[in-house]
């Protein structure tokens, strides 16, 4: 636990010194200015892949990772030879990678490439309690196999919240739509999450909601520590317990408490730090950090319900399977 505190203190010292006090941008009401459109798209994932042995990697290793990612996308973009047709029985696949925005390289913090978002535990792996995770399996199995009506499907398919922990907290990168817009007003900070149009309203110096009120993305209360916005979130929605994407899988139980720190370290970057305390799902705290980088342009309006032909197709597919099995 002491090492975790040391890491947080160290990173706070580093980040505040990287932007001189007189350069820190302020809103018209005097708060440090975090506003804008940001992205956390990156090849760096929550947990450290096995091929990396340390948190900080060399530029050469980072370039190799970028090259592998580029080669991988070439392969999955070109699954067939010219004139060849897909074969029956294969995986139906997903999108061309042009539809995705997974990032092209590992992110850097303080000029150093990082192999994982996790900075604690030191091994870059979540300290899972596998017994707790195993208990989730039956409900998840039902969610992805039953299709009698929309309410049986996952939250992402129902356009309620994004898949994985895109909206957070903690806010983690996924394969596409990794954009966030931060808007501030006196007493409030709003984070609009592109996936799937979620707006997390952080009340500054506020009081927490009663424990039985569990909003999507949890109940967030914030305060300023110098130029850093510190946000504590609890009362996570019970239907958001398991958050899965191909890049991360996390379990957040009713006991989970998340602490986030947002520090503007330059015109183009916010350092985003977080720590998760959930004794039901994990054997220890876990914490991470990643940059939120300034994005060009605005977030494309998310219109999940308007374009959600998929839900009807999924239900129609289930009916077709029932017909075949009769």
């Amino acid at each position: 636990m002491n090492s975790l505190k040391t890491i947080f203190l160290f990173s706070l010292v580093v980040t505040t010194s990287s932007l001189e006090a007189e350069q820190i941008m302020k809103t018209w009401f005097g708060d440090p200015d975090l506003q804008g459109t940001w992205t956390n798209a990156s090849l760096t994932t929550l947990e450290r892949p096995d091929n990396f042995k340390s948190l900080v990697v060399t530029k050469e290793e980072a370039n190799v990772a970028a090259s592998y990612a580029a080669e991988f996308t070439e392969v999955i973009d070109n699954p067939y030879e010219e004139g060849e047709s897909p074969k029956a029985g294969e995986n139906v696949g997903g999108y061309n990678t042009a539809w995705m925005d997974p990032g092209t390289q590992l992110f850097k913090i303080n000029g150093e490439y990082r192999s994982s978002i996790l900075i604690y535990p030191d091994n870059g792996r979540l300290p899972r309690k596998w017994t707790s995770w195993g208990m989730e399996a039956p409900s998840l199995y039902r969610m992805f196999t039953q299709a009698n009506h929309p309410e049986q499907r996952s939250l992402g398919e129902r356009c309620l919240v994004g898949f994985g922990s895109s909206g957070g907290p903690p806010m983690l990168n996924v394969l596409y739509n990794n954009h966030y817009q931060i808007v501030q007003s006196p007493g409030y900070v709003l984070i609009l999450v592109e996936m799937v149009h979620d707006a997390r309203i952080i009340r500054l110096e506020g009081t927490s909601l009663p424990d039985h009120i569990r909003p999507w993305l949890g109940d967030s209360i914030g305060h300023w520590e110098g130029n850093t916005l510190v946000v504590k979130t609890k009362n996570h929605h019970l239907q958001q317990r398991f958050r899965a994407a191909i890049r991360h899988q996390i379990l957040m139980t009713e006991n989970a408490e998340v602490t986030e720190r947002f520090t503007r370290i330059s015109e183009d970057e916010i350092l985003y730090e977080f720590s998760v305390d959930d004794d039901l799902a994990y054997k220890d705290l876990w914490s991470g950090e990643m940059p939120l980088r300034k994005a060009e342009g605005k977030i494309y309006e998310y219109a999940c319900h308007e374009g959600n032909y998929s839900m009807a197709n999924i239900l129609a597919g289930a009916r077709e399977e029932e017909r075949r099995n009769q």
Partner: protein
Amino acid sequence: MKTTLRIIAFLFFGVFTLQVYAHHAFTAEFDRNAPINITGKVVKVEWINPHAWVHVEVEDESGKTVWMVEGGTPNTLIRNGITKKTLVPGTTIIVRGYQSKGKLCLPRCIANGRDVTFPDGSKVFMGSSGTGAPRDGADPREPNRE
């Protein structure tokens, strides 16, 4: 009991996460035993986030059929310069993928685009690098969009 749960968790989440790689489960929507390989002209594009839908008219000996091909987020395409002005009706594309499990084709036949390309070699849909993420110059192959 603990060992059993660990095994269940490991096996289940390993398989499960392979399925959960997008906004929805493709295997629930599309039929892996119904591959398609069609060439047709774009008649309409629904630029909806997170799923753009490209409507393609295919003409063969049996007549004309309009397919709705599901794509991902328009956000990335637009950030890479692919807009309503560049992906216009009349553009010919090749779609290789799989038809939906429901095959009534009412009002349209539906497919996913496992592989969507332009036959003229423009490779607009091939986005192996420069996917719109902010750049720091580490990848020398990043296209210069200035």
